[in-house]
């Protein structure tokens, strides 16, 4: 495909420059000009209000999908334990389904997992497709893909959400290719477009430096993987749901992979996504001893300690406590950032906190831009003072 500018139509508004993820549009004599870097991704075409950006791509008609109904969530479980992201997806799915006036269903695959159905219902699932079979006991890509393909083809959902976990990011692309649909990766925002009634899927790309909104107009279901820790789970104890058993035939002899062994690493896995309070530290904490003080504050407030990549690299905290683009995303009630500069890769993991407190000795540190309350000062003085006043307040 080729993209070009109709110079006469261009009014030099620069919207295309803002839209280009590759920085491949420049202004030349007040008109847009496309550079060699262009990958023809088409983002600018959509952005141009003057219709000055043209392509030789054939206009495509959008098929009629009015028979496609329902928002589906893949219920991720391993060894009978439900992944928390499933509940977060159900929360979001209910919101989308309410807007579309459709239902939420969960797909529960495994062996001996039927009792998880009640949990799924209490978090908003109105229908559960339960598929139990010995070959589904361990997660295996091709077996799960085959079963989901059958369900999608039979029940024709409109939207299908999968957690962007290790398992989800192994499974979802395989399923999307198999059923012939587009897939948006690792979304952090989902909403229904009021005009087209399609799912607008927003996700970070370029290592969190760019946010892109993606539409899935030409195939159904509209499929997306969703970043854990970003959406909100909501318990709905009055919700009613049906569990529908779905029979399949699969044979162990046909399986192309076998799980030989599952090894849990010895360290206690911390699930920061469940923490209400997170006390996070960065380079400014100074040493492992400094983190002990943060840990004490976290413990006193009933929270968990976490940190930046620098804190992990220095060996002050284990890597499973890293917050950010290459660590975990969290959404606690309270996030206390101590001696953290607020790099974009760090912010990517904590921007969904409800309240943020920042403590930094540099008043220009970017972390203050994302904080609700900022304190300029030495954390080695501020934290002990917080501890003292917190304890005093509790004893009152």
């Amino acid at each position: 495909m080729t993209i070009w500018i109709e110079i006469d139509l261009c009014n030099g508004c620069k919207l295309c420059m803002k839209a280009c993820p590759y920085g491949a549009v420049e202004l030349e004599n007040g008109k847009a000009h496309i550079l060699e870097r262009c990958t023809s991704c088409g983002a600018c075409v959509e952005a141009c209000k003057q219709k000055a950006i043209q392509t030789d791509a054939q206009p495509r008609s959008i098929p009629d999908f009015s028979d496609r109904k329902g928002v589906w969530v893949f219920a991720e479980q391993r060894h009978g334990k439900l992944n928390r992201v499933t509940l977060e997806l159900l929360g979001k799915a209910r919101e989308l389904a309410d807007t579309l006036n459709q239902d939420v269903s969960a797909l529960l695959l495994g062996h001996g997992v039927s009792d998880l159905g009640e949990t799924l219902i209490s978090y908003g699932a109105q229908k559960i497709y339960l598929v139990e079979h010995p070959t589904l006991k361990d997660y295996r890509t091709t077996a799960y893909t085959q079963v989901i393909q059958g369900l999608v083809n039979q029940f024709k959902p409109n939207v299908f959400l999968v957690g962007a976990t290790h398992l989800g990011r192994d499974l979802a692309p395989r399923v999307s290719r198999r059923v012939g649909v587009g897939l948006t990766a690792d979304c952090t925002e989902l909403e229904i477009d009021p005009d087209e009634s399609i799912l607008l899927q927003t996700r970070p790309a370029f290592g969190g430096n760019v946010m892109a909104t993606i539409a899935n107009r030409y195939s159904r279901p509209q499929m997306a993987t969703v970043r854990p820790g970003v959406m909100e789970a909501e318990e709905r104890l009055d919700n009613k749901g049906d569990i529908l058993k779905h029979e399949i035939s699969l044979f162990e002899e046909d399986m192309d992979t076998r799980v030989l062994e599952v090894v849990k690493e010895k360290r206690r896995r911390v699930d920061l996504s469940e923490a209400k309070v997170i006390v996070a530290g960065g380079r400014g904490v100074g040493d492992a001893g400094g983190f002990k003080v943060l840990e004490d504050l976290a413990a006193a407030m009933g929270g968990e300690v976490a940190g930046t990549r620098v804190a992990v690299e220095e060996g002050w905290i284990p890597s499973d406590r890293q917050i950010g683009q290459t660590g975990q995303s969290v959404r606690p009630e309270l996030y206390i950032a101590c001696g953290i500069s607020g790099a974009i890769q760090h912010r990517a993991g904590m921007m969904n906190a409800r309240y943020v407190i920042a403590i930094n000795k540099d008043p220009r540190a970017p972390i203050f831009q994302v904080a609700d309350w900022g304190m300029v000062g030495d954390l080695h003085e501020v934290i002990p003072e917080m501890m003292a006043q917190f304890k005093a307040g509790r004893n009152e």
Binding site: T39, C41, D170, G207, N209, I214, E333, A371, E385
Partner: protein, 263 residues
């Protein structure tokens, strides 16, 4: 053991900076590199070839300048490079990319193993590996951190999980997506890399017709998802800076935490 390695050329996003005034990306002078995960895939392929023999092919779809990535792969010891380049391939989503790569692999025909990176640092989707595997109808193992054993018709690999790992037995041919933990990539040999830039270098360049695809099946036209908008991430909040000495600031803070029922 014939191995195909999927290699993507990407802008070095670790170098990308934001313009503090406009919030836009500053891309001037950003280098193009081989996607970091793919270096580990290349290392694993060359390493396996050294023990088990066979041929290693690097396959990349991209603009003409992506040939640099292929030359670097040859410098690391890959035998042959194939660049898929055509205006028609531009603007592809992962659906169209996996189709295009899949078609090229069908044309290469001979392979026992396909290695690719888990995730590219620009598109960041981690979808290409599983989608190519599905197109070719072969099994996949993703997040591979160790290849324990490999025989004619099967391998055993370790796959990284959030809380540990799994050991998986997988029939061949198969596709593995690999992560940095797998190995330490070697540096390209200077002489080999220079030879790779010469005219008689073992690099093939294929366009849409060469792999037998219609322009409507590839690139933006063949895509099912489309980027409709991009913007700089918004992270700003209404910040209130607390004033006074440490005691006063913290006292002030405690009041606010109580007001908002946070403590």
């Amino acid at each position: 053991m014939d191995i195909i390695v999927l290699v993507k050329q990407v802008p070095d996003t670790t170098e990308v900076k934001l313009d503090p005034k406009t919030g836009n990306l500053i891309r001037e002078g950003v280098e193009s590199i081989i996607n970091p995960d793919d270096l580990h895939a290349l290392e694993a392929a060359v390493d396996l070839q050294e023990t088990h023999g066979g041929k290693v092919t690097a396959l990349s779809m991209g603009p003409p300048q992506a040939i640099d990535a292929i030359s670097e792969a040859l410098g690391m010891g890959v035998h042959e490079g194939i660049l898929l380049t055509d205006k028609a391939f531009g603007g592809a989503d992962t659906w169209a990319t996996s189709f295009t790569l899949g078609k090229a692999i069908e044309k290469i025909e001979e392979y026992d193993l396909i290695l690719c990176g888990r995730q590219a640092i620009d598109g960041d989707t981690a979808q290409i590996g599983p989608q190519v595997a599905d197109y070719l109808n072969i099994p996949q193992v993703s997040y591979v951190c160790e290849i324990e054993t490999i025989e004619e018709d099967a391998l055993v690999a370790k796959t990284r999980l959030e809380d540990g790992f799994e050991r998986i037995h997988c029939g061949l041919p198969a596709l593995l997506t690999v992560i940095g933990e797998l190995n330490t990539p070697r540096y390209p040999l200077m002489g080999r890399a220079l030879d790779a830039c010469k005219e008689k270098a073992p690099i093939k360049v294929w366009n849409a017709a060469d792999i037998g695809v219609q322009t409507s099946q590839v690139g933006l036209e063949g895509s099912l998802t489309h980027v409709i908008k991009t913007f700089a991430p918004k992270f700003k909040r209404e910040t209130e800076m607390l004033e006074g000495d440490t005691r006063e600031m913290v006292g002030d803070l405690m009041g606010r935490l109580k007001e908002n029922r946070l403590i």
